[in-house]
């Protein structure tokens, strides 16, 4: 199939960017979206132009590195997948596809479609952990955990930190990301010990990074490639209020 791509090009964080139009020909429907970009980049290199920079690594939907805003949606038109899992059979011959980077104050553009998501790391560093040094742990089976709680914690922990929630949120809120980690740890007895301080620290860091506020539109839940539930946001709200009432 033949397609027209409109791709955001931006030299670096300081310079302004703009959308550039590129035709691509003879695209196989078995290609992944990123492989289509590989083809385009080969074309650009052979003409001596600079290829389009984009983030990608595992190409199997788990590392969370790929991050394209395709035709107005993070990771493209299909739900439950990342950009690297999107295949060209989801498009039609002759389509025009607009590709932009994640846009948020907290995710500044590095180059073209590459953004800086280190704000997520700083939120985790603020409290997204259980303070236990290696070697201190008791036997794993000394902490029985009800299976439903363990399953829920796992579902929250499935977050890959790609940032699609922020990218799609009309307010660029990071609530889904932060609440997934808060929930995972709050659901487990090991995590309850620090729960109060954790949620306060993580929310404080989230606010500091410049993310917007949650207005419960639910877009994040729909676009999350791992189906992280809004229930986590409610749980974080609860945890946060209780933490502030008790301390």
């Amino acid at each position: 199939m033949n397609l027209t791509l409109k791709v955001w090009r931006q030299k670096n964080a300081k310079e302004a960017g703009n959308l550039m139009t590129y035709p691509v020909k003879d695209i196989s429907e078995d290609m992944s979206f990123l492989e289509m970009f590989d083809v385009l980049n080969e074309q650009l290199i052979s003409k001596g132009d600079e290829p389009i920079a984009f983030d990608h690594d595992c190409r199997e939907g788990i590392c969370g590195m790929c991050s394209m805003f395709i035709n107005g949606r993070p990771h493209g038109p299909k739900e439950g997948i990342t950009t690297c899992q999107l295949h060209m059979r989801s498009f039609k011959d002759g389509d025009t596809i607009v590709v932009e980077p994640w846009r948020s104050k907290a995710f500044p553009v590095v180059k073209d479609l590459v953004v800086d998501r280190s704000s997520f790391d700083r939120i985790i560093a603020a409290g997204g952990f259980i303070s236990v040094n290696a070697g201190n742990a008791q036997d794993a089976n000394n902490i029985p955990i009800p299976k439903p709680d363990a399953d829920k914690a796992f579902e929250a922990a499935a977050c890959i930190g790609c940032g699609a929630c922020v990218a799609t949120c009309k307010n660029s809120s990071a609530m889904l990301f932060v609440s997934a980690k808060v929930s995972q740890l709050a659901l487990l007895p090991q995590g309850k010990i620090e729960a109060t301080a954790r949620v306060q620290e993580m929310v404080a860091q989230m606010d500091k990074e410049g993310f917007g506020n949650c207005s419960n539109t639910g877009a994040c839940e729909i676009e999350c490639p791992k189906g992280i539930s809004l229930e986590n946001i409610a749980r974080m709200n609860r945890e946060f209020f209780v933490a502030n009432l008790t301390e």
Binding site: D30, I62, M65, A125
Partner: protein, 659 residues
């Protein structure tokens, strides 16, 4: 006299590690504060080492090329992590895990290292659970186990099909905690491009800030390489696009010997290549072989649809060749058998390089059980199939969805097509019992070292090794080196060795830009991958390997004359990153072929066609090849082989048989 001293402690197998831990020199807490450690890589090994060493009080600098330490490719491991907990009361023990691992590695690993691995395996599970890693549980609230990779005990802990992700995020959270406390400085989007050695000891690295393009000098009293494996030599593999051998290779060129480079693991159940555009291969969990039957048509070039081929015209070749193990033979055996059928012209699909993995029998078997359970009388065949499908969906639904997503085919209606793909490299930097390479102060952990898996890695053992090295081995073993380094003040990065190392890196970069050739980096990478896959892949022979070596040399020469690297050095430039990595692969690939050529035996993942039994099975030669091949870098294209003899005091090598 061999240059290799494995430093295995004295004593019986059971005593070695305990004695070592009790007698290893310690570093006083106040001295730890002034000792700096550089860690390259933030996967299971790197993140766990960084957090643990920081917890002990060392000053740690951790580097990763991704935008966050959480992205390291450990995250993609699906199946699970082994530990000799014996929670299932089925007779597991440290010894049994040790025994299985040595045997599974086809008797090419070090007994003492593997025993230590088995010993600390339990601590890993404890540590991860304490960190909040949500491992699967039973209804009683205790941890669940499954059997994996054909072992007879249930010792694999898991978190659905995302065990690697959960364990990595656990290690990542521990790392971020130390970053938050200021004990670790994290350098994301940084790539290590050189090891700095001073007076024969590793004293730091040169790293490139991938965003600004600036070269940076970083001092460390010790340097830990935790950069993973080199499967991407083959271009197509289940590794991440960015996975590379550069850190390990630079270490090698600075004096670290490379151990068993030819030992690569080819995983049998991957989604086949669909065309020239293919950029990577996707693994489908090995667990599929528990219920799927593998077959090809009995007729060559059969173009009929799978469902139209009658039962008697199908060749269930694994069941035919290995009646005892059938579809559950180990990875290396299953992979070679698939290649054999496809090479003989029986492959399926457009490319003819695939075999069927069929669940029709499972649909029926489970369906029949299910209609009994549900009390359905006189069920129709379609009803049975539907209920069977529901059971299969429950077990493997996510894998079936993944297959459909990638291929566009519905595996509930037609069999999956699978083909082997490069998955893991058992080889890596040679290390002693302390995980130190042949360069003092330079360590290698996780997949980057060669140590524990011999010639073949068992399922669910990679995660175990990465975390064992980082959480429980290096914190002790590094003390034996650093306790002698406490008087060494941080060395100025303006000193001559740092300046010279940076200059070497800068010259390579300049050279790459100066070529201004015609072909992209990927062009060369694909060519290298094809040579490696065809001649140093699942089956190897003297002729092919000899050809491969000269072809790789020619390709390398062509690369340095004709590669085109676009953009500038002082900016974010993925093409430059790739170019540097492929340049290293072009050297490593040659060494892999040389190693495969010298090892005139078949063992584990390494199959030499000259060394097989009459019925085509791998044949080891313990008299001549019970050693670790450790290669010393001389200059480009020239390596010296050193041998570390392997002594088996406990587990006596036998020929593996799955008939």
């Amino acid at each position: 006299m061999s240059k290799l001293d494995s430093k295995i402690p004295e004593g019986t197998l059971e005593e070695k590690w305990m004695k070592f831990r009790s007698t290893v020199p310690l570093v006083n807490p106040s001295n730890k504060r002034s000792i700096e450690i550089v860690i390259v890589g933030s996967g299971l090994a790197g993140a766990s080492a960084a957090s643990t060493l920081a917890e002990l009080g060392y000053k740690v600098k951790c580097f990763c090329f991704q935008d966050s330490p959480r992205r390291a490719h450990s995250i993609a491991a699906q199946g699970g992590i082994n530990a000799a907990k014996n929670y299932q009361n089925d007779g597991d023990s440290t010894f049994r895990l040790f025994y299985d691992t040595v045997k599974g590695g086809d008797y090419r690993s070090r007994e003492a290292n593997v025993y230590r691995l088995a010993e600390v395996s339990s601590n890993i599970i404890d540590q991860c659970v304490a960190q909040g890693v949500p491992l699967a549980r039973e209804y009683g609230g205790l941890l669940s186990n499954r059997s994996f990779g054909g072992t007879q005990v249930q010792r694999t802990f898991y978190a659905a099909g995302q065990t690697g992700q959960q364990l990595l995020l656990g290690a990542y959270s521990a790392l971020e905690r130390q970053i938050g406390l200021g004990n670790v400085t994290m350098y994301s989007r940084h790539e290590m491009l050189e090891v700095v050695t001073i007076e024969g000891k590793a004293r730091g690295i040169i790293a490139r800030d991938l965003i600004s393009g600036k070269l940076e000098r970083h001092f460390g009293h010790a340097v830990l390489i935790c950069s993973g494996g080199y499967g991407n030599v083959f271009y197509l593999s289940t590794n991440a696009m960015g996975s590379n051998a550069t850190a390990a290779w630079k270490a090698h060129k600075q004096g670290a010997f490379f151990g068993n480079p030819c030992f690569t693991q080819i995983h049998p159940t991957c989604i086949p290549v669909s065309g020239d555009h293919q950029s990577k291969l996707t693994l489908m969990s090995e667990s599929l072989r528990n219920d799927g039957r593998i077959w090809v048509p009995k007729k060559k070039d059969d173009t009929r649809k799978a469902v139209d081929i009658p039962e008697e015209e199908r060749d269930y070749y694994l069941e035919r060749r290995y009646p005892a193990f059938g579809n559950l033979v180990p990875r290396d055996v299953a992979s070679r058998a698939a290649k054999e059928r496809c090479d003989a012209g029986y492959g399926v699909g457009k490319s003819k390089m695939a075999v069927f993995l069929d669940f029709a029998a499972a649909f029926e078997r489970y369906g029949k059980q299910q209609v009994l359970v549900l009390g359905i009388d006189n069920p129709s065949a379609a009803e049975i199939r539907k209920h069977g499908m529901d059971v299969v969906k429950e077990k493997y639904g996510n894998l079936f969805d993944m297959y459909k997503q990638i291929t566009g085919e519905n595996p509930y209606e037609m069999p999956m097509r699978i083909y082997p793909a490069v998955h893991y490299t058992m080889g890596g930097l040679w290390v002693d019992y302390n995980l130190m390479t042949t360069v003092p102060g330079l360590y290698a952990l996780g997949e980057a070292n060669f140590s524990d898996h011999g010639a073949n890695r068992l399922g669910a053992s990679a995660l175990m090794q990465g975390l064992a090295d980082g959480y429980f081995v290096i914190p002790y073993t590094i003390g034996s080196y650093l306790s002698n380094e406490i008087r060494v003040k941080p060395i100025s990065t303006d000193s001559e060795p740092f300046v010279a190392a940076e200059k070497r890196v800068q010259e390579t970069i300049n050279k790459l830009f100066a070529i201004k050739g015609k072909h992209s980096v990927d062009h060369f990478h694909k060519k290298l991958g094809k040579i490696m896959w065809d001649k140093c892949g699942m089956a190897r022979n003297e002729k092919g390997l000899t050809e491969a070596i000269s072809e790789i040399r020619a390709l390398r020469e062509e690369f340095w004359k004709d590669v085109r690297v676009t953009g500038d050095a002082n900016e974010f430039n993925p093409e430059l990153e790739k170019a540097g990595r492929v340049a290293d692969f072009l050297e490593l690939g040659e060494l892999m072929c040389m190693d495969a050529l010298q090892r005139k035996e078949s063992c584990g993942g390494h199959f030499r066609e000259e060394s097989q039994t009459e019925d085509g099975e791998a044949k080891r030669d313990d008299d001549k090849f019970a050693f670790v091949a450790a290669w010393e870098y001389k200059n480009q294209g020239s390596f010296e082989l050193h041998k570390e003899e392997l002594v088996f005091d406990i587990v006596h090598p036998t020929q593996r048989s799955y008939k």
